[in-house]
């Protein structure tokens, strides 16, 4: 089987569980610029779906595919993300040197596609189904269109058929669907793939020595005129939920249940 190249696109995001804990506690705040979360205690992590995209690549390697796995991020200060990717077994770790807050997903996709094209192309591009900060889920489609590759979304399982085709089990609202496309293709990975592995301490140590390739947009052939964001975040706010909850009381569970059912009958929720 010929060796293939898998490129995994990975983005750094604020830890969604931490953001969520603040939100649930009603303590999520937006800073003076009107758009950035103020909580400095929120750690930055690799987007969980992107970790699963790396996991999908590693499983292909485990299954015997002869492959090179390269992990790329568009954004600077991504050292810990890239180290994690290296510890997991990435052959190349690469960062595109841009201020992630100054670009939009179109620019991100343009840069990632340019990285793939100028570094030898890819047989398989693996992405997360969406980034847990913006939840957009558009970058993989934009990369696919740019590179003329088909897109397969929300994978729970990714298999290679002799390196020239990819077979994917997708999670759809109607149940699992199995699809196949010739390589090269873009595949987005969903949480149903299962938990990603952790690197061992030894792998983590060894990864410290691995040098990241750092590329500027110019080196990728992306000119300034292509760097202007067209979708610009101008404001972010925490939504207010206006409740109108009627508390159903009672001394015991028996009473509470009876009162709830009475309330249902009164309001026509249950006939």
């Amino acid at each position: 089987m010929p060796s293939i190249r898998i490129v995994v696109c990975a983005k750094e995001v604020p830890d969604p569980d931490a953001v969520n804990s603040y939100a649930v506690a009603g303590r999520l705040e937006i800073g003076d610029d009107g758009k950035t979360l103020t909580q400095t205690a929120i750690p930055r992590l690799m987007n969980a779906y992107d970790e699963q995209a790396i996991e999908a690549a590693l499983r292909l390697r485990d299954a015997g595919a002869e492959c090179r796995i390269d992990v790329v991020t568009a954004g600077r200060d991504a050292a810990s993300l890239l180290r994690h990717a290296a510890a997991l077994g990435a052959d190349e770790i690469a960062a595109i040197d841009v201020d992630a807050s100054a670009i939009d997903y179109h620019v991100a996709a343009r840069l990632l596609a340019a990285y793939i094209e100028t570094t030898g192309g890819a047989d398989l591009v693996l992405c997360g189904r969406q980034a847990s900060d913006d939840d957009q889920g558009v970058v993989p489609a934009l990369i696919g269109e740019r590179l003329g590759m088909p897109l397969i979304t929300v994978a729970r399982d990714v298999q290679l058929a002799d390196g020239s085709a990819v077979r994917v089990t997708r999670v759809t609202p109607d149940g699992d669907e199995v699809v196949e496309a010739a390589c090269p293709a873009v595949v987005t990975v969903s949480s149903e793939l299962g938990p990603p592995r952790y690197p061992t301490a030894r792998q983590t140590m060894a990864a410290r020595k691995k040098q990241a390739t750092v590329l500027s947009p110019g080196e990728l052939g992306v000119g300034d005129e292509e760097m202007a964001p067209r979708v610009e975040l101008v404001r972010q706010f925490v939504p207010e939920i206006h409740g109108n909850c009627e508390m159903v009381t009672g001394e015991t569970a028996v009473e509470q249940a009876a009162n709830l059912i009475a309330a249902f009958r009164e309001s026509g929720v249950l006939s």
Binding site: E145, S191, E192, I241
Partner: protein, 319 residues
């Protein structure tokens, strides 16, 4: 001439009328003509009735043999051809499962800015589109400004309540010629098959969360669901822990449902969970913690132990 174009395919649904409502709002907010583009086969009389009710000025029928059933490549190609011919300035989709693929691909194909998860749209300074979208799994709202005068937007279910126009119209129907090749690069090897009834169609759902305390207690959720003639569902943590199967997960990364009645037992009300059920007509929350976020979404709340309450409710409902 600029146009706000709502685009749908397949059978009309609740979401179609919501989309038309939002598109009309944007078009009267200075967005231009209000067009409804329909891809593939549809009943003309029904289309005209719905369109008229919502004040649509023109229906564009995008038809071709290759569009008779959904195929991502054919749909993207047909819509790209449509965009070239008609130059819609704002193209809006309901964010269905397939639209999540088609909209961003079309954006890439036609080099148009795209925003997903939209909840509201407005014309800002110099007529530039402002899109309010859900972010961080619903924990925040992001307001995006789109440069230029073209945009593709996917609107979430329940973003707005469907509402007919003040004055009805008699929209003209125009056919738009497209000739997509019709060979899909992604081939379906095994079609999805629904096993049994779908949560998406359930009128009553009883959902359990980590507050159940123990895997065995998921049976209490199932028993109440059965007594009410509904279906059982779950929050993500108990799916992750294997208390029930993944098909029952409600939320951002699970199913999005809109039953008449949603009973949430031992669920805290994280926005990622509520993303899947906030549109239920009546939400009932059973939680031990009187400050739980779920009570902000609920119509009825009980502060108490769900392990005691669920069987009691099952018993009394049965009477």
């Amino acid at each position: 001439m600029s146009a706000v174009t709502a685009c749908t395919w397949g059978a009309g649904s609740n979401e179609t009328e919501e989309l038309l409502t939002l598109a009309r709002k944007l078009s009267s907010d200075g967005g231009g003509e209000f067009v409804w583009a329909v891809v593939g086969p549809a009943d003309a009389a029904a289309l005209q009735e719905t369109a008229g009710k919502h004040g649509v000025t023109r229906i564009d029928r995008i038809e071709s043999a290759a569009l008779e059933s959904y195929g991502a490549d054919a749909y993207v190609e047909a819509l790209a051809a449509y965009c070239e011919q008609r130059e819609p300035s704002k193209l809006l989709f309901s964010q269905t499962f397939d639209a999540r693929t088609v909209a961003p691909r079309l954006a890439g194909r036609t080099n148009t800015p795209v925003v997903m998860n939209a909840l509201d749209l407005a014309s800002g300074d110099e007529g530039r589109l402002l899109v309010t979208a859900s972010a961080f799994g619903g924990d925040t709202r992001a307001v995006y400004r789109v440069a230029g005068d073209r945009a593709i937007v996917c609107v979430m279910a329940n973003a707005v309540a469907a509402e007919p126009a003040g004055t009805a119209t008699t929209p003209a129907i125009e056919r738009v010629d497209v000739t997509p090749a019709g060979d899909e690069r992604v081939r379906v090897v095994e079609a999805a098959r629904t096993e049994g009834p779908r949560l998406e169609d359930a009128q009553v759902i009883v959902a359990g969360g980590r507050g159940l305390g123990d895997a065995a207690n998921f049976a209490l959720v199932q028993q109440l669901a059965e007594a009410l003639g509904g279906m059982a569902a779950a929050s993500r943590p108990i799916v992750d822990d294997g208390w029930t199967d993944a098909a029952k997960q409600i939320g951002l990364t699970g199913k999005i449902v809109r039953p008449a009645l949603y009973i949430a037992a031992g669920i805290s009300g994280a926005s990622q969970h509520m993303a899947g059920c906030a549109a239920a007509k009546t939400i009932v929350a059973i939680n031990r913690d009187p400050d739980a976020a779920i009570f902000r979404y609920a119509r009825y709340g009980i502060v108490g132990d769900c392990v005691e309450l669920l069987p009691e409710l099952t018993k009394q409902v049965g009477r």
